[in-house]
């Protein structure tokens, strides 16, 4: 097809309407704005390339060229999304882009040539319908952008320097610290829809205390010196990303404890570094996904999923634990995949046979499935626990 400039833009906008509608549906279903933000970026990248590059470089565009151009646009869109801080999961973002691209191909190669007799002759121009489609696309974009802006959670910037805690967060919003923000004495989250980002918390009974709330995101927080739990979650749903939790090596402290949340949506702990304490990451009676964390030098267990928890632990690295690396206990159902457990030492002082330096233990009616590669080390079942390799 030899597109005119107007034809390129109008065809792009016609395809954009499909992408925007899908993105709007997705945004509604996920209660998240990233699909619309991503769709906006996709359209912006496409239109910019249409005007600045494609029109001049491609007086004729064979069908197959759509594929490399699509890949280039995908790369540019994802890079821009990252740069703009669009919180789109990579796989979902690629899937949305791929769907929009496919829909665009079907539209320009089949639907529009079928609906408009002179679509090809007109170089992709759509006449009055083109202007209408452009208005619809811009209207959807502007409308959803306006709604996104109007409903955007408020942003509270925490000043650099030491803040005296406990800091109680009782309003929804994004709480973002600066490079030198320190809260001494703990943070307490008392309301749902809170994001706490880039904050260093020192001391406190619990470093960060989250109770009876949903949709809480702890992003790149650092917690040190808590006397009980670094991050203490009760009857709540949280997503903890890229945190650092340091606890005293021999105290009865826990890095991250998520408990009594089986009735909540699944919590996530991923990309965290947890050192010291009795237990690194522990769940009691909770749904949890524990992924890509590094847990080291714990005195009781590295990762524990217990008391009828249901969850998955995958791609974690557990090192230097005393007694047990990963425990699935007390009628929990656990999927363990691709974890690396190393240097687990027996706890000879306990005289507990389950703590004699096992990489993985399933006990007290717990059901454990092992997937993929597990690290070398002893694996054991006790008191009705089972382990099945898949």
């Amino acid at each position: 097809m030899s597109y005119t400039l107007r034809g390129r833009v109008e065809s792009r906008l016609a395809a954009a309407v499909v992408a925007l509608v899908v993105a709007a549906i997705l945004a509604t279903a996920l209660a998240d704005w990233w699909p619309l933000e991503l769709a906006g970026l996709m359209i912006g990248v496409g239109l910019t390339l249409d005007v600045a590059a494609y029109h001049r470089l491609l007086p004729y565009q064979p069908g197959w060229v759509a594929l490399p151009l699509g890949l280039a646009e995908l790369g540019a869109t994802i890079a821009l999304a990252r740069a703009a801080g669009v919180q789109a999961p990579l796989v979902s973002a690629i899937a949305l882009f791929a769907f929009a691209w496919l829909a665009a191909q079907v539209l320009v190669h089949a639907a529009l040539p079928l609906l408009c007799r002179s679509y090809a002759d007109d170089g992709g121009e759509l006449g009055p319908a083109g202007a209408a489609l452009a208005l619809v696309a811009l209207g959807v974009l502007a409308g959803s952008g306006g709604v996104a802006w109007a409903t955007k959670p408020p942003l509270y910037r925490l000043a650099n320097g030491v803040q005296r805690g406990p800091l109680v967060l009782d309003r929804p919003g994004v709480y973002e610290g600066g490079p030198r923000t320190v809260v001494r004495g703990g943070v307490v989250v008392r309301t749902s829809h809170v994001t706490l980002r880039h904050v260093r918390v020192e001391g406190g009974e619990n470093g960060i205390d989250v109770e009876e709330v949903q949709d809480v995101v702890l992003d790149r927080v650092t917690v040190t010196g808590a006397t009980l739990d670094g991050i203490h979650v009760r009857r709540s749903e949280v997503a903890i990303h890229d945190c650092v939790v340091r606890s005293p090596r021999h105290g009865y402290t826990q890095g991250i404890d998520i408990s009594f949340a089986l009735a909540q949506r699944m919590s996530v702990v991923e990309g965290c570094t947890v050192t010291g304490g009795a237990e690194g990451i522990v769940t009691h009676y909770a749904n949890a996904m524990v992924s890509r964390n590094r847990v080291s030098d714990t005195s009781l267990r590295g990762i524990t999923l217990t008391e009828m928890s249901m969850g998955m632990a995958d791609e974690n690295a557990v090192e230097g634990a005393v007694g047990i690396g990963i425990l699935c206990g007390d009628h929990s159902e656990c999927e363990l995949a691709d974890n690396r457990v190393a240097r687990v030492r027996p706890d000879r002082t306990s005289q507990d046979p389950t703590r004699m330096g096992y990489a993985i233990v399933s006990q007290l009616g717990a059901q454990t499935e092992l997937h993929g590669k597990e690290a070398a080390g002893k694996i054991a079942t006790f008191v009705g626990g089972t382990i099945v390799r898949r």
Partner: protein
């Protein structure tokens, strides 16, 4: 209902226009087609057979349907239950076979009501009348599309009486030593035919042919290239057309390898004049210009139509400027419409002219 719309010419351009009008909502009894052969592919089939053509130069959208989708690649993929035609089409490597194209025409003729609208009449004159156009004394039609086809085969004047000379589009076999005049698609096809028949070939050409997949550079098939062409004054358009219509045939090994092999073996040479050939095949196309067509010549003379070089001046939608207004339309389709669409004698050109004609009909104040 009385027919208000006439197509003069029952060849592929007229047939394509008929399909477009039908797609636009006109019923068979609203359209009258005047021609000499009810088979719309009759003349084309004879010429394709003469040059032993097996593959179309056109691509997936080289069909007679009103919309460009579904193209012949899609139809073939569906028929053969194979994605190969689609992949080839996406890669610009798809050319339908002549037999598939002819089947498509036959099938379309069957289901479109063509024969219901067809009248076997050679129209000698079309003239403006009070409320439309008088078509050969048959009736008055408000909207008329003239698709008379090529006005005869072009032979070099000095070969017209030569008993050794035959036109490529007339049935012929090959002698042992053949001179082939021309450098376009038909000439290239004849080089390969003659070589395949065991003959030695002398190619007589005035200039080196262009190598391109279609008759014209691709932008000239859409508004991208047409906008600039239409913006030219008519005389300049005619001169541009002369350049654009220079002989060409597609690139590719299928064309080059047999010729290169024959050249190495001394069986293919390029020469400036006929020298000792037993047979001369004139792949010199068709006569060009309205003056060679009695119907068009009379229309120009009787109505004082504007012309440029050998072409009738038409609007960008291929309608004749001086005779078309909000209540009546006369348009050209096929080769005479070249000042509206440079590749007018292709299927794409026929569709382009037909769409312009349909837009006029649908926008007509009296319809």
């Amino acid at each position: 209902m009385t027919a208000e719309c006439a197509i003069v010419g029952g060849g592929l351009a007229g047939f394509t226009a008929y399909q477009t009008l039908r797609h636009g909502g006109l019923e068979p009894d609203e359209i009258r087609v005047f021609g000499t052969d009810s088979d719309p592919a009759g003349a084309w089939r004879t010429r394709a057979a003469a040059i032993r053509q097996r593959w179309m130069r056109s691509e997936s959208d080289g069909h007679c349907l009103a919309t460009s989708f579904p193209g012949l690649a899609v139809l073939e993929a569906r028929r053969e239950r194979s994605v190969a035609p689609l992949v080839a089409s996406v890669l610009d490597r798809y050319n339908p076979s002549v037999s598939a194209f002819l089947e498509h025409v036959a099938e379309l003729r069957e289901r479109s009501g063509w024969d219901e609208s067809f009248r076997a009449t050679r129209v000698q004159r079309v003239g403006a009348a009070a409320s439309g156009f008088d078509v050969g004394g048959q009736d008055i039609f408000r909207h008329v599309l003239l698709a008379p086809g090529h006005p005869g085969l072009a032979m070099p004047p000095d070969l017209e009486e030569d008993p050794h000379a035959v036109h490529a589009y007339e049935p012929h076999e090959f002698a042992d030593r053949v001179a082939i005049v021309g450098a376009g698609m038909a000439a290239a096809t004849e080089w390969l035919n003659a070589l395949a028949a065991g003959a030695s070939v002398v190619s007589l050409r005035r200039r080196e042919p262009e190598r391109r997949p279609l008759n014209l550079p691709r932008p000239f098939f859409t508004r991208r290239g047409l906008a600039g062409f239409h913006a030219l004054p008519p005389d300049e358009r005619a001169r541009t057309l002369e350049r654009l219509l220079a002989p060409s045939y597609p690139p590719g090994r299928a064309w080059d390898e047999p010729i290169e092999t024959a050249r190495r073996n001394g069986r293919f040479t390029v020469a400036a004049e006929v020298d000792g050939a037993e047979q001369i095949v004139c792949a010199t196309g068709f006569r060009r210009g309205f003056a060679h067509d009695p119907l068009l010549r009379r229309l120009v003379e009787e109505h004082g139509l504007e012309t440029a070089g050998e072409w009738i001046v038409v609007s960008p939608d291929c309608t004749v400027t001086g005779l078309t207004n909000g209540e009546r339309t006369i348009g050209l389709a096929g080769v005479p419409a070249a000042l509206g669409f440079p590749a007018a004698d292709t299927l794409a050109g026929a569709k382009y002219a037909a769409r312009g004609f349909l837009r006029r009909i649908l926008g007509c104040r009296t319809r």
